[in-house]
Assembly symmetry: C2
């Protein structure tokens, strides 16, 4: 049975292993997840970031990282979402996003923002967010790099 | 005569005074400028940020802050631009943006991004960027807060 809970220090190693095994992530992206995770685990207020994990009998199935967007009122970013390849198509990603939205609502958030890539490798990712009710609010050509557009999704999370 | 140059520790006080006197900036925004300026002045690599100042005979007319956007290839953000109210309509803002673009080009940047607000108070700001050749690439409703849209401008800076 899948359990969702906030990440703790004991999850650190398996979160990093999962991140490093995701072929879509660049080395710079892996490093960013590592930095955010260290911040989350070592700062008393988690530097504003939250990590959630999904696990089954002690095995990490996936994680989500989200937090308030600086200089906004009530806008949160879903910064990272990763599900183990062996655990896909079982609702783990959906459960993580739904739980993150619940947490944002508790923190009086209004809007969840997800920034992802327009590259073909991310088409399944984009379809996934669209199934969850996210709307493409912007597409910025060449934002991430040549031939790599930013696709920005939003979803209202107010009750 | 207006001189443009990288900011140094001697500019710190006048940059902060100018920032605090800008009615469009919220207290949280002023605090963010202070943090970036401290990073810029105290880190050997300026944490990636650059501050430029425009001055005339030792008087600060304005400043710009820009830097690479994390997790992109060659995209830079113009994070902050501020011109003293007494020095407006004299080309100071345009000179700062042009110089920032030159610096980005030297750092092999491709794209300059400017994020600003869709509120009526920012209409002169938006018109200014449009005059400088910036194109509105995205408008995200309610991004900054209720009734406060994100307007994202981009301009290619490749030669």
């Amino acid at each position: 049975m899948t359990t969702l809970r906030p990440a703790d220090a004991g999850d650190s190693e398996s979160i990093l292993l999962l991140t490093r095994s995701e072929p879509l992530f660049t080395p710079e992206e892996v490093e960013t997840v590592e930095e955010l995770l260290t911040d989350y685990l070592t700062s008393p207020d988690h530097n504003g970031y939250s990590f959630l994990v999904a696990e089954d009998g002690g095995r990490l199935l996936g994680f989500a990282c989200f937090g308030p967007r600086p200089l906004t009122k009530g806008t949160f970013d879903l910064y990272w979402l990763c599900v183990a390849s062996s655990a896909r198509r079982q609702g783990v990603g959906r459960a993580l996003v739904t739980r993150a939205e619940d947490e944002v609502r508790k923190q009086r958030g209004r809007l969840m923002v997800i920034e992802t890539s327009g590259r073909p490798e991310y088409s399944a990712t984009r379809a996934f967010y669209e199934r969850l009710g996210y709307t493409m609010a912007a597409a910025v050509p060449e934002f991430y790099g040549p031939g790599d557009d930013l696709i920005l999704y939003t979803r209202k999370v107010t009750p």
